[in-house]
Subunit: 229 residues, 2 copies
């Protein structure tokens, strides 16, 4: 069986888990604390980042975007008209543009600061208590409002983020949002269109694994597993 090195609340790992869910691909999940800089893990991926997929034949695939392209090339065609990366160059540009939007811009402006302050800081300091920085939290929350409205704006134009069908772009956005939704950071009342889109995604079988995640010492927000919010 394939192995995925991940962290339950890492949005990029969650993105890959959603892809594997859509592909109905089984993999053993191994939790990796990247702050430990484990020698065996660095041998797999010298960049020291998660997620990393290891195939049964030993093929190592590091990085969310690299894994997404790889899974599309090796298994994506089997999804036929439900393929998560469109066939035409223009559609592929749009999906990849939105992937970058969520994996880079959204993550840097919203996900990373919130997750760092509320959770990863603890990993990095080996459990030493460090209080979240209120200025960083405030800035990230303000960025989140802007991003939710942009998402709503896009979803007014078409049913899914990159057009009229589900693609990697939706999975990337949902993965990012789901991680901070666990922290209770998403005010879904701020944008009804975004909320309806997220409810659709949350009801997909692929999402179930994410909803079952529990972090020690950090319970999810009350509505986290509620499919109707």
């Amino acid at each position: 069986m394939a192995v995925l090195y991940h962290h339950p609340l890492d949005p990029h790992s969650r993105f890959v888990r959603l892809i594997m869910g859509e592909l109905q691909m089984e993999a053993e999940l191994v939790e990796e604390n990247v702050f430990e800089r484990r020698r065996e893990f660095l041998a797999l991926n010298p960049a020291g980042t998660i997620p990393v997929l290891v195939e049964p034949d030993g093929q190592v695939v590091p990085g969310a975007n690299v894994i997404a392209e790889y899974l599309d090339e090796t298994r994506g065609l089997a999804l036929a008209d439900r393929r998560l990366l469109p066939e035409d160059p223009s559609g592929r540009v749009e999906v990849r543009r939105m992937l970058n939007w969520f994996h880079v811009k959204f993550y840097m402006e919203v996900g990373e600061p919130l997750l760092n302050e509320k959770l990863f800081k603890r990993h990095a300091t080996n459990g030493a208590a460090t209080a979240p920085d209120p200025g960083i939290l405030r800035a990230a929350r303000s960025n989140l409002r802007y991003h939710l409205h942009y998402l709503g704006h896009i979803l007014h134009q078409h049913n899914w983020i990159a057009g009229d069908r589900l693609t990697y772009a939706d999975l990337a956005a949902a993965a990012q949002l789901s991680a901070i939704d666990y922290l209770g950071e998403v005010d879904w009342s701020a944008d009804e269109t975004a909320k309806l889109w997220y409810a659709k995604l949350k009801s997909r079988p692929a999402f179930r694994t994410l909803l079952g995640d529990r972090i020690r010492g950090l319970l999810p927000a009350g509505h986290y597993t509620d499919l109707d919010f």
Copy 2:
């Protein structure tokens, strides 16, 4: 003719210029100062980042990696056995892994701090003089030594970064190094293997456009255009 919005010393833009050179694809180069947040430019790419490629038919392609995939899909096949992204899934993983290595890790640890401190700070503050932070320069230079040795280590195993032929990985690495080489920041004597590889790349016709760049008020290092260093 296609248009590329870029900055002469932005490594990600340079990567795309190298690809276009290898494809013998002509494009008009338009210099974009992203710190101005020009309304017309944000309409092309809401993320506000360079490079952005605009095709004669109006297709907008934002982001270095997205452009690389797009150019491979639309023009790359014409290169036949000199195609810059290999055909096999495993080869593609390695090229994309190294692309991320240079575009994300190298850029964050070396290129961005050096370019910010020595050049972009000036753009961001609208020309106001701000001295480089010596601590940031020192850390970036120390990271560069580590990266040069890793590059040399890889190039001991095969002639090119991702295997036995030139790929996007080499162009990404060369683009990153060329930008800080302009600043005189690369001590090529630190790794002979890396130096020989860079000399090979520098001699390619695709590289000529980069060697002709001149930034107002900032002359390139003496060896910048010297094909034999």
